[in-house]
């Protein structure tokens, strides 16, 4: 697994010219220039909506989080230390906003009451992912909200179990067991989706 910072760097462009432009963009945003803010938004909004979408059950909720997140980004941009990566910083804000949103809204709140479940045996299965990214995301979104959140935090964002336990304010064992369960469920779902595809191939329909 990539360290978190590296992963965030992968998420956004990282050439030198881009960095210079980004610094100018940040300065302009800090001055409150609308064009610069729009440019920054256009640059990061699609990826960030993808992040928010993975944590929610509907695109409307994801857009709500995106909106709240970008308001926070622009109002707290002065806190961003220029030596770090802006994309990673924005992504962290989006993740925080997503978690806050899930804990706030009743339709997610019940699912977020995470209790310890008997530790599920860790499977070594690593099924090949043949489906489209959108399909994979939708598969993750079909998991119960608690599992979905922990899976996203650990498997996609790259947080370790301790960090997740601190972020969600739950016991570390709960994180472990919930993640293990979520992972197993997803692998099972992936296998299920692979099977009919193989059948179709044998039938010679493709």
């Amino acid at each position: 697994m990539l360290p978190r910072n590296e992963m965030y760097n992968c998420a956004v462009k990282g050439s030198n010219t881009f960095m210079v432009n980004e610094q100018q963009l940040i300065k302009a945003c800090l001055k409150g220039k609308r064009d610069a803010q729009l440019e920054l938004y256009n640059q990061y909004a699609p990826v960030m909506l993808g992040v928010c979408y993975r944590y929610t059950k509907s695109i409307e909720d994801a857009e709500d989080i995106l909106q709240e997140g970008f308001i926070r980004v622009f109002t707290k941009l002065h806190q961003f230390k220029q030596e770090g990566d802006l994309g990673a910083w924005i992504r962290r804000i989006m993740v925080n906003c997503s978690i806050t949103y899930l804990q706030k809204h009743t339709r997610y709140k019940k699912d977020m009451q995470l209790d310890d479940v008997p530790l599920h045996p860790v499977t070594d299965d690593n099924p090949e992912i043949k489906m489209e990214t959108k399909q994979l995301v939708d598969l993750i979104r079909q998991l119960p909200t608690g599992y979905q959140t922990i899976f996203n935090l650990v498997a996609v964002e790259g947080f370790n179990h301790i960090e997740v336990s601190e972020l969600l304010n739950i016991n570390i064992n709960t994180v472990r067991s919930q993640y293990s369960r979520a992972r197993s469920m997803l692998i099972l779902a992936l296998k299920k989706t692979d099977f009919p595809q193989q059948q179709m191939n044998y039938a010679g329909r493709v």
């Binding site: 697994m1 990539l2 992963m7 992968c10 998420a11 409150g32 609308r34 803010q37 729009l38 938004y41 909004a45 699609p46 990826v47 909506l49 993808g50 979408y53 993975r54 695109i59 994801a62 857009e63 995106l66 909106q67 970008f70 308001i71 926070r72 622009f74 109002t75 707290k76 002065h78 806190q79 804000i93 925080n96 806050t100 804990q103 706030k104 809204h105 709140k109 977020m112 009451q113 995470l114 860790v122 070594d124 299965d125 690593n126 992912i129 990214t133 959108k134 994979l136 995301v137 993750i140 650990v154 498997a155 996609v156 790259g158 601190e166 972020l167 969600l168 304010n169 739950i170 692998i187």
Partner: protein
């Protein structure tokens, strides 16, 4: 093998993107614009509000009248004394009419005096002239009639009441001038010498004198009444001006005040909506009871911000008048500050065994103990140094702009310092004997030099603690009352009691 799966996931999902609807940007933009406008509006509104308050006060207190300047009053008083016809120096005959009129013209700045001039020059003077013309038909009685007129004038304007008031005297003098009073003057001169009328003519003269006197007195009733009225107004105005001009050059004031206290990263000069230590991006600390299962809106900030508190202040101030408008205030004040902070009292056995009772942490989740509200106290002794600029220095109720600073010695303090970087709170014992520098500004109303009410904002320039990652500052808003005290009076009272 497990890592392979996560790696696959990252590769697939790391750059997953979706195109947001245009409405999202519109909402973001709409949310950002009003905030900036509001912030700008606050900065622009502040001086405007001050200006508005000042000018309203100025207009209200002046009530549309222009006040005579201090030096003008002094000149007028001087001339009045010299020219008084009812005083000892009866030197009216030596004052040419033009000179007197010029003096009146000087006085005609206020509307009341303009009215007086008009009365004298138009209506009453015409009546007077007609009457005098009638009376002057009898040559033999001329001197006596003039004498009577003068006497009537003297009777009509009692010396003790109006003797020192310039407007009446000048007005009467003008009446005399315009009514051909020169003859009366001649008579007055005669009476000084030996040209007094013989006793044989006394009865006739007296009879003629009485009849003429009644007529003249009747004619003078209205203008004199007007003059009295106008002059009483002028006297009141002069009294006020004298009071103002007599404002003490320096005085001592007893002050007391109270107001709101805010502690945070925000200052009056740096009004950021976000405070780093309390921001959700601060991952060093955890929400108060935060995380899952927390009611909506409770865990927005990982570190609980202290509540807004209050402060009380009392002390003595020395006020020095620097010029007509400028004043300097300094003195010694005591200030008490208080607010509350939500923390977790760490009852970990390890610390308990070390005898540490009050160990407060901001990490609400990982330690045993309970969340408590701690009250912060601080005691300051401060020396303020402020300058005030009077917007309406000649008015009875003066409105002034105040600006200055204060050096405070925090001599006793028990104040929790939020150290977000280390997830901890500290009781700041090192703050004792620390000096804090503050700046303050505001608006004051001096009510007839008897009571002063001031609205002040004070901002500390020195942070509560220099070593914390995020600096916290005191911002205070105070309403302060000040009352002048006289040590002479106090001493006099105490000696009288004895």
């Amino acid at each position: 093998m497990q890592e392979e799966f996560e790696k696959n996931m990252e590769q697939h999902l790391g750059n997953f993107s979706l195109q947001p609807s245009p409405m999202v940007w519109k909402e973001v933009d709409a949310a950002l614009r009003p905030e900036r406008k509001r912030r700008l509006a606050i900065w622009w509104l502040m001086p405007l509000l001050l200006l508005l308050a000042g000018s309203t006060g100025y207009l209200f207190l002046y009530n549309g009248k222009e006040m005579p300047a201090k030096n003008q009053v002094a000149v007028n008083n001087k001339k009045t004394n010299n020219n008084s016809i009812t005083g000892n120096n009866n030197n009216l005959p030596h004052q040419p009419a033009q000179k007197v009129t010029a003096q009146i013209a000087k006085l005609t700045k206020s509307s009341a005096q303009q009215h007086l001039k008009m009365l004298i020059t138009k209506n009453e003077a015409t009546k007077m002239a007609a009457l005098i013309a009638k009376l002057s038909n009898t040559n033999t009685a001329t001197h006596k009639q003039s004498f009577t007129k003068q006497k009537t004038l003297q009777n009509g304007v009692p010396e003790n009441k109006f003797g020192t008031n310039g407007a009446v005297n000048d007005g009467v003098r003008t009446l005399q001038q315009q009514a051909g009073i020169n003859e009366a003057t001649k008579f007055a001169e005669d009476t000084k010498g030996t040209n007094r009328p013989t006793t044989t003519d006394k009865t006739n003269h007296t009879t003629t004198k009485s009849a003429a006197a009644i007529n003249v007195a009747d004619a003078l009733k209205t203008p004199i009444a007007t003059l009295k009225k106008v002059d009483s107004l002028t006297a009141a105005t002069k009294k006020t001006i004298t009071k103002i001009s007599n404002t003490k050059k320096h005085q001592w004031l007893v002050t007391a005040g109270s107001g709101a206290l805010h502690v945070g990263e925000n200052t009056l000069f740096n009004n950021n909506s976000a405070e780093k230590a309390f921001a959700s991006s601060n991952s060093n600390v955890q929400p108060p009871g935060g995380g899952l299962g927390v009611a909506a809106g409770q865990n927005v900030y990982p570190l609980a911000a202290p509540t807004n508190g209050f402060q009380l202040t009392t002390g003595m101030q020395y006020q020095q008048l620097l010029s007509k408008r400028w004043k300097l205030n300094t003195g010694l004040q005591y200030r008490y500050l208080q607010n509350k902070q939500l923390v977790k009292n760490d009852t970990t056995p390890f610390f308990q065994s070390l005898g540490v009772v009050d160990r407060f942490v901001s990490s609400f989740s990982n330690t045993s103990g309970k969340i408590v509200t701690v009250t912060n106290h601080a005691h300051w002794l401060e020396v303020p140094l402020t300058f005030s600029y009077a917007l309406n220095p000649t008015s009875k109720n003066r409105v002034s702009l105040i600006a200055g600073g204060a050096v405070a010695w925090a001599f006793a303090e028990k104040w929790l310092i939020s150290d977000a970087a280390n997830s901890n709170f500290y009781y700041n014992t090192s703050l004792n004997n620390k000096l804090l520098f503050n700046v303050n500004a505001g608006l004051s109303l001096d009510m007839n030099s008897k009571l002063q009410i001031a609205c002040m904002a004070q901002q500390s320039l020195t942070p509560i603690h220099k070593n914390t990652t995020d600096k916290f500052y005191y911002t205070q808003y105070t309403i302060q009352l000040s009352k002048p005290i006289s040590f002479n009076k106090l001493l006099h009272k105490s000696s009288t009691k004895k």
